[in-house]
Symmetry: C2
Subunit: 370 residues, 2 copies
Amino acid sequence: MVDERMTQGDPQIPLRSQALELTERQRNVLRAVVEDYLRTAEPVGSKVLVDRHGLAVSSATVRSAMAELEALGLLSHPHTSAGRVPSDLGYRVYVESLMRESVLDRADELMIRHQFSQVQLTSNEWLRLAASILAGSTHSVSVVTPAKSRRARYGHVQLAELADRSRLCVLVLNDGNVVQRHLDRSTIDRLSPDGPIAQADLDLAAATLNAELGGLSAPQVRRRLGKLAPLATHVAEVVAQLLEEADGVVVEDVFTAGLANVLEQPEFAQGAKLRGILEVLQRSDFLEQLVPVLTRRGGVHVIIGHENTIDAMHEVSLVFAPYGAPDRALGLLGVLGPTRMPYPRAIPTVRYLAALMNELINSHYAETHD
Amino acid sequence: MVDERMTQGDPQIPLRSQALELTERQRNVLRAVVEDYLRTAEPVGSKVLVDRHGLAVSSATVRSAMAELEALGLLSHPHTSAGRVPSDLGYRVYVESLMRESVLDRADELMIRHQFSQVQLTSNEWLRLAASILAGSTHSVSVVTPAKSRRARYGHVQLAELADRSRLCVLVLNDGNVVQRHLDRSTIDRLSPDGPIAQADLDLAAATLNAELGGLSAPQVRRRLGKLAPLATHVAEVVAQLLEEADGVVVEDVFTAGLANVLEQPEFAQGAKLRGILEVLQRSDFLEQLVPVLTRRGGVHVIIGHENTIDAMHEVSLVFAPYGAPDRALGLLGVLGPTRMPYPRAIPTVRYLAALMNELINSHYAETHD
DNA sequence: ATTAGCACTCTCGCCCTTAGAGTGCTAAGT
DNA sequence: ACTTAGCACTCTAAGGGCGAGAGTGCTAAT
């Protein structure tokens, strides 16, 4: 059964499926229609429905049930003489209360786990792998964002001189993310006490900052600016900028896989609809809408078609979950596909992958002995 | 005029256009056909050709010239009663010796330069911007890779303890790229001389490595492994791994923009062809073939349709250039589009952008006073 | 309530036709 | 010898008509 965390109750969704009281038959018919349509991508008629699913009634009965479901807004009709197609609301009801099996096969779990065990925990590779698994397993487009803390805090800084003799300031944030910026050469050298600066001076400045600024946020760093030596102050200024830039930016550097999958879906065969999707996907600001909900609730969150606040995404569904800890670093992962998304597969996969990533993160850190 | 660096002479290209001696009329007709087709995306007939371009001959004459060009393999016929379309070889001849104006408008140059001046030199933002400009300016898909040195060399390392008490090893390579890996906690603590390790111990180890390993390659680092303290040795081991992983990897973390543009091209309206492209693009290993050529020659390099070694890319053209210094860090940038690529715009744009990025890099480092 | 039967509607695929574009050839003109 | 006008020919793309099939909604009987 689907756990209640998946329940959708945001203002962006006008229609509450809970308000609908369906008869057992209506529920069975709706489920059958959705599942058939998910498989075939073709409007499903009353005849095939009784044939394929073991409904112990005649097609006429099913027809009347379908008509009722259509009146309730759960099904719709492409045209007079076509079968029925689930509406967004129909999918919603299906996802919330009709869908069976919402855990992954043991075999799938092991397969995913195995792939993770094959790769080193370089964060980028890790995310790439997650995206690739998600895409492959659901045949949709997958999106994974790095885990980021809400508030950017100072972690550790290094000042490195490169082969081309430029200086790079690399700031590791408290949450493990890394940002960097080239230092302006002339400014730096001017601040040096005597003549052109040496790596030793830079190391000293870095050590000072690391001792003084650990765990501080951008404004806190700014407040210390005056109290440091000139060179350290200059670097701290850069650090403050970097912190400010990282602050509040929720989605950036997203990893995507399986773009080609979406072309196999008949609903996106012609490019017109695809275009909007691609644009949204490349800007990837569509994830913004997920952040508040996922931070607040956790669990798998499903957004179906018109429930989406972004117009260009009225024909797609999102299945997303957060990973990491809300109080620390939080990341998003999930899939994007047509509203005819294979929910029974996508939802448990996303759930499992989010849980697995949490587990791996925690076990990695739990190896401590305290 | 097109400079000779653009000339294509690799074994992968069986047909050398230089071997073809065309009459002045044939050249004019070919140029007119290509330019018309680039604009309209429709097969061009003899009639419209004399109308639109000021050819002082009749359509019958043009027809015979077209027939000659077709016999030479420069034009082709979709079907009996359609106009002519340039073949890959036709495009090649056009690009090499027929195309006019291969410098960018002054206005475009300023526009691009202006956009660059607006943004801080955080390397990622920089590349993203370049990709975005390229895509916008050529209406194609753009690809930009970070500048990387052929051989990964040690630059500077830092060991940071994060909020979750995990330890991160951040290695800045000599070429300015940054790689990272989490350290295994239990191993680290075991290596500590007395009890759980402190940030001071880590700083010390990092300082040792920075003093000892600067500029070394992976095997060189490996050779030093024994000569360091246990903790430093362990980190150096990780560093060696990171260097090895970075070594030889030419393309990674590519930045792409304008994917949606390609959907506007009629040749990719239906998804079948698009699919292959998307897949290749996401793996982005198609860039590999460019590396040797660009390293050797520099300048703008054009690969048209079947000249491409990758089957899935037989219907697309690439216009790419390297930036950076071949001996130091080298990056690739360029665009990917249908063979009906707007070469007269794409080529100078790519050339200009590569030159601009070189200029910015150099001016940035030249600010030194020595 | 359920179901069989039936008339009705609408789409989809098919064929046919036609209009139009463009060619290649030939014969005449320069 | 090159160019061009003229013309017959070919092929596609678009449109119309037609029939098959699928699916519905209604009604009347169980």
